[in-house]
């Protein structure tokens, strides 16, 4: 569980997996799991889109600033969350 500001790719990775933008396996960067570039970019884009930021796919300052904001611990209803829709 992460607390505090998000300022590195690893912290962002944990954040994105914690809130449903990346699969849970990405939550533990120590497990050696590698993310392909597309998955990572898509996760950042999904977060930016959900949060109303410019959708660049880049982990820019604005994105990390929003990731650092205090927030609710419930997953956002996207991507890999257990509540995500299987069919739309």
């Amino acid at each position: 569980v992460q607390s505090g500001p998000v300022s590195t790719t690893t912290q962002a990775e944990i954040y994105l997996s914690q809130f449903g933008y990346l699969p849970a396996s990405a939550r533990n960067p120590a497990n050696g799991g590698l993310l392909d570039a597309n998955t990572w970019t898509k996760a950042v884009q999904d977060f930016q889109s959900f949060a109303g930021l410019n959708v660049t796919g880049e982990l820019d300052d604005e994105t990390m600033r929003l990731m650092s904001m205090p927030r609710c611990g419930v997953r956002d209803k996207v991507g890999f969350g257990t509540d995500s829709r299987s069919k739309r």
Partner: protein, 422 residues
């Protein structure tokens, strides 16, 4: 907004605070929690009763770190609280490492966070509308709290509109919601005998709810105001008189959250504020609705997520005006994704009572947003629009099913679906 998929079957809910925070007075916590619940009861018939002991629907705890649910809190900042959806019990947990405050710009405002968490306890997921209470980020202390329209629509989608609510809550721009005027229109036999062109040929061009809560059907150069199970007296009327400047033979129409109604025909669209054209129209669809094709079949704002859906032929497009681009590259998608719906629809009506209705030819389909499929019912869908929507005399309610029995079973089916939840 986004609905998680479960809700409470009852509207009289109970709660208890089983563990109070370290740094706040109990009476303050009681007050703020009650106030947070009232955010949701203001717009619905939900009631929340505190209990000191015994089983309750929603249990509230202020805890730190690992606290038994496998989702440990993280100390000051970061995650402030979390709550479980109805299907998972509805409990709300607050990180007691936070500095919870009341009516103060310092620390973290308990009322705001509690109101958000109780939204989860009632079945709401996070919204991507930034101004919504159900947006996931804490925005800091807001001395004047106002529930966003997005939140009102969300909670009313699950629990309906407050039965005693007056008209001032209906303005989408002022934290209101669209009224539920299109509650299943015809579970009682049609009363008003009609002898009109719509009964002989029930195919319609467009159907939409106005911001004031009326439902209108457009056909040719005329429009019909719908009542709960028929057509209002004095209709049809001329579209040109009801919406000055608007032509007949409209392709599609919807009213958006901003309370404005959009009409589409051919390559053009018109925007109206009530019955008044809202500026210089028509404009090209390709300009105002980038990514959406001309010559549409149908359009609606889907209650499932508040986004605009357009239908044409065998395809549909999702349009989100807040996004760039407003139509994702993955669209169009096949209408067959909407299980049970045919291609080449005529009209679609925004969900208001838990269902979305689609019209094609002389029939309509009731779409269940929770199962994401056309409902199974007796009599089955599609059903004849003339009987069920327009109150036409001497038109069939179904094929080969006794009318009286059909009405009873349809009513029963609807009730069970509405209460089919957690």
């Amino acid at each position: 907004y986004a609905l998680q998929g479960s809700r409470w079957r009852v509207k009289a809910l109970t709660y208890k605070i089983s563990k109070y925070p370290k740094r706040l007075k109990r009476s303050d916590v009681d007050t703020e929690v009650a106030k947070a619940f009232s955010v949701w009861s203001e717009y619905t018939d939900l009631t929340f009763t505190p209990k000191a002991s015994g089983p309750v629907h929603i249990e509230i705890k202020f805890v730190e770190s690992e606290h038994g649910d496998g989702d440990a809190f993280d100390g000051v900042g970061g995650t402030l609280a979390h709550a479980f959806f109805p299907v998972f019990g509805g409990d709300a947990h607050f990180d007691d490492a936070e500095q919870w405050t009341v009516n103060s710009p310092r620390g973290t405002n308990l009322f705001q966070v509690a109101a958000h968490e109780f939204g989860h306890s009632l079945g709401l997921s996070h919204s991507d509308v930034r101004s919504a209470l159900m947006a996931p980020f804490y925005r800091g202390y807001e001395p004047v709290f106002k529930l966003d329209t997005d939140d009102v629509l969300a909670i009313q989608a699950l629990y309906g509109k407050k039965s005693t609510q007056n008209g001032n809550g209906l303005n989408p721009t002022s934290g209101g919601a669209f009224p539920r005027t299109t509650q299943r229109p015809a579970f009682t036999p049609p009363r008003a005998p009609r002898d009109d062109v719509i009964c002989k040929d029930p195919k319609i061009d467009a159907l939409f709810n106005s911001a004031e809560g009326q439902t209108y059907a457009f056909k040719g150069n005329k429009y019909y105001k719908l009542t709960e199970n028929s057509i209002a007296e004095g209709y049809p009327k001329l579209i040109a008189e009801g919406w000055p400047g608007l032509p007949g033979d409209i392709d599609a129409a919807f009213t958006y959250k901003n309370g404005k109604t959009y009409f589409f025909k051919g390559t053009k669209y018109w925007r109206y504020n009530g019955r008044q054209m809202d500026g210089d129209y028509p404009k090209e669809i390709s300009e105002g609705f980038t990514g959406i094709p001309d010559h549409l079949d149908a359009a609606m704002v889907w209650g499932g997520n508040g986004k605009i859906y357009f239908y044409k032929g065998s395809k549909f497009w999702r349009f989100d005006p807040l996004k760039r681009p407003p139509v994702k590259s993955s669209y169009p998608k096949p209408i067959s994704n909407w299980e049970g719906l045919p291609n080449s629809l005529d009209a679609a009506l925004q969900y208001t009572n838990g269902y979305t209705y689609f019209f094609k030819g002389d029939k309509y389909y009731r779409f269940n947003d929770r199962t994401f499929a056309v409902d199974s019912a007796d009599p089955p869908f599609p059903r004849p629009s003339a009987h069920w929507w327009f109150g036409c005399k001497n038109t069939p309610s179904s094929t080969g099913v006794d009318d009286h029995q059909a009405h009873d079973e349809a009513s029963e089916a609807d009730r069970s679906v509405m209460s089919n939840s957690a």
